[in-house]
Amino acid sequence: MKNEENEFEKENPANHAIEHFVTNGNVIPVDDEFEIPDSYGIDTLFIHPSNNDSLFIYWEITNTLLYSKFNDPADMEFTVKIYAIKMGEPKKRREQEVYSFVVKDMVGSIYIKYPAALKPLAAKMGVMVNNEFVVLLRSKSIAVPSFEVLGPREDLWMERLKDLPSGTLINKAEKAKEEKPEKIEANKMPDVKKELEILRQFLSVRVQDTKIMDTFVQIVEALRKNSQDHAKVVEILRHFVDVRSKDMELLRLLLEFISYLLLMEGTPIDIAKYLKEITDASVGSSENLYKDEQVKL
């Protein structure tokens, strides 16, 4: 439905208050009033732009979560912090706090004015304890690939060929010299779908096992309350999680980088070489991959 100033769209408000039930006996009585819950007993935080300069945030925080973190959470005030996500920055510097406010309700919503509302953002909700922000909830961040934020090169053009499932990138300057566009033959294109798929699967596995390790850390930390002997195990697991986190970040960057390379004219960098190393790495250890990528990037 289009929304513009247009008298043709301003129909009279419709009101269906017709109380005539059909005479068919098979029809069950119709409940015309519908009750819906105010909340769902879940812990959730949502942030989304409503406009280019305003954000909508809603949250629900449960007593279960509060009592698991605090002895006396009654009358607690909650702080909501909003972070701009700086794509391409190292993880520690990636999130930059840009806005914060305090709320009292465990279930609520709010609009705030923020001039860069369409940029990648995330929110955290927590409690300030002795000037420290104890995070209780984190919103799902709206992931925006960095090339979407930065935009491709100005002279990047793409040509769609009938027999190829997706577009092929060509160079605009070179193309301008030719009278007719040169069709790039399918068999000259580097077929990297398989390699990219391997990389994606690899990343997916890494994400999953890192989550599992994270759970281990939590379990061992819980055990640690009873005994100090597990400190070493915790340390090893933490190290493992850290390495995996770096792996994943590296893989994500590589995926993005390869996608970008494929968009460039003449494959100036030896993609095949890269892909071979990545494919090899996907069956090798994470440590090797990490070292390898450090050299490459």
């Binding site: 247009n6 269906h16 017709i18 519908f34 959730t44 732009p49 305003s54 925006v144 009938k162």
Partner: protein, 537 residues
């Protein structure tokens, strides 16, 4: 020599409205009015152009809810009754006005028109409007594109990626079901774009979509040809952007053609004007006055009083001069643009289909007259997106900006203080259904009565979620139009979902309730809840 192209795009959509629990339901009339005033007149105009060998090209979305309603046996029967009532009322009007020459001419015009529509519906269309769309689609004269499965407002749903994926996947499946081939293009619900949606489109082999002008112009980098050439997103999906000038000529109430004083007035209707006892059988059974479709006045001037009698012949002649004006303006526009472009520009003109015929009664005739001009032109040709991409496959790569075709250009129309309460529920429902789909995707495969009921319950949970996601409810609340109905519909699907879920997880499903929902909220009869699972292919 062809100097440029014109790409008319009509977005045909209505939310799924079906109320078999009532003999008469006002909101069901949205569909019947759209069929008799827009869809059939447009198809009749296309048929006429084929007969007269007038070359035309149209890109038309038929959204999944609309396709489902146009094929629903119950709604088809209701439409036939509606059309017969219109014919009966027109005959009655011819008798009532037998001594009033001026008004009688209009009444006879309506009787003749409704009888032609009925004959076209029962004959050429064989009682199903989709037959007409299929006919012209198969001939390559129109390109039918899809939309979100239930016109969900995708940017705000994306917090659960599966929710967006299902909106697109199910839309593509529904398109194949009704049109026998996969859709090549999509009209994103509310023309709403966000970064990353193109990846989901590509996954579903959708080759192009549309953007509002600023969605492209605010993209990065700035497009070399503005909105007059398509671009590719980084994922290789083509995007065509709306031309503001040709849009304004039709949309604007001040500068637009539909506001011309000779055209038929939308608001003056005998449902409101005539004696209550006389009109009673043709309005709402509770006595509420409604539009009947018989309108005797032309726009004339400001306000609704002192209107002059509508003259169909004069209005018809006006569509010719307006079409000529539109055509010559496009020629001027294209000539101006082609000086600075290395290829013929394409002017993309998207409109709500229901504008033509329903709101602007003479709209289909206007379109017919434009095609009559373009078919004789050496300078401008109507074109579909795939035809244009076939001739000009090389296009700039741009990352478009988040945008919609709503009032502020972004998301406020569908996310504001009047309707934001909806999303908490939609997000919870999508997360819950995704979890359930993953949990039960294999465990209910074995054939048993109990498993069958559970599968049906999960399928109905999917339908209730999809119906609640329709962007129309949030839109209507913002527009303060049908607010009560829109709110009730949203709450109904949320409530149905929660009741079914509670039963599913605890005491067992109330089969009678389930059967009722399957009958009433019957959209996507073949849906499989597994579409929400992570391994769905």
């Amino acid at each position: 020599m062809i100097k440029g192209y014109w790409m008319p795009v009509l977005h045909s959509h209505l939310p799924f409205v079906k109320h078999p629990e009532y003999d008469y339901f006002l909101e069901e009339h949205w569909l019947y009015e759209a069929i008799s005033e827009t869809y059939i007149p447009l198809l009749m105009a296309m048929n006429r152009m084929v007969e007269e060998k007038i070359e035309f090209r149209l890109t038309l979305s038929v959204t999944p809810p609309l396709a489902e309603m146009l094929s629903d046996p119950y709604l088809i029967e209701q439409f036939k009754k509606y059309l017969n009532r219109l014919i009966e009322l027109s005959k009655k009007e011819c008798l009532r006005l037998s001594s009033d020459r001026e008004n009688l001419k209009v009444a006879e015009f309506y009787l003749n028109r409704f009888e032609k529509i009925k004959s076209f519906f029962e004959g050429f269309l064989n009682n199903n409007v989709l037959n007409g769309y299929r006919f012209f689609y198969e001939q390559g004269l129109i390109d039918i594109i899809t939309c979100g499965a239930t016109h969900g407002f995708l940017p705000v749903l994306r917090v659960n990626k599966k929710a967006v994926e299902v909106q697109i996947e199910l839309a593509a499946e529904t398109h194949k079901k009704y049109f026998n081939k996969a859709p090549e293009g999509i009209w994103l619900p509310e023309c709403a774009y966000y970064e990353g949606i193109d990846e989901i489109l590509k996954k579903n082999d959708i080759k192009y979509f549309f953007l509002d002008s600023h969605g492209l112009m605010n993209g990065a980098p700035t497009p070399k040809h503005g909105v007059y050439a398509p671009i590719y997103t980084i994922n290789g999906v083509a995007a065509f952007a709306r031309d503001p000038e040709s849009s304004r000529q039709v949309w604007s109430s001040k500068a637009g053609y539909p506001g011309d004083p000779v055209y038929r007035d939308f608001y003056r209707d005998i449902g409101f004007d005539l004696d209550f006892e006389y009109i009673k059988p043709y309005i709402s059974p509770d006595g509420k006055r409604v539009y009947t479709g018989l309108k005797y006045y032309k726009i004339t001037g400001d306000g609704t009083e002192a209107k002059q009698i509508y003259d169909p012949e004069v209005a018809h002649a006006k569509t010719k001069s307006h079409a000529w004006h539109f055509y010559t303006e496009r020629i001027k526009q294209i000539e101006m643009l082609s000086g600075s472009m290395d290829r013929p520009p394409v002017v993309v003109s998207p409109y709500d289909a229901e504008l033509f015929g329903h709101w602007w009664f003479e709209g289909p005739e206007f379109l017919y007259n434009i095609f009559r001009e373009t078919s004789q032109s050496d300078s401008i040709k109507p074109v579909t997106p795939m035809e244009y991409l076939g001739v000009h496959p090389s296009n700039q790569v741009i990352a478009p900006s988040p945008s919609s075709w709503g009032e502020d250009g972004y998301y406020t129309v569908w996310l504001n203080e009047g309707n934001d309460w909806i999303y908490r529920h939609l997000h919870y429902m999508a997360d819950t259904l995704e979890k359930l789909a993953n949990e039960y995707k294999h465990s209910l495969d074995e054939d048993s009565v109990s498993n069958s009921i559970k599968r049906r319950a999960l399928n109905q949970l999917s339908r209730e979620l999809l119906l609640a996601q329709s962007s129309d409810w949030a839109f209507l609340v913002t527009q303060e139009t049908a607010v009560e109905y829109s709110t009730k519909r949203t709450k109904e699907h949320i409530s149905n979902f929660n009741r079914l879920l509670r039963d599913f997880l605890s005491t067992g499903v109330d089969e009678k309730f389930l059967e009722w929902l399957e009958y009433k909220n019957s959209i996507f009869e073949d849906i499989d809840f597994k579409i929400y699972s992570s391994e769905y292919v």
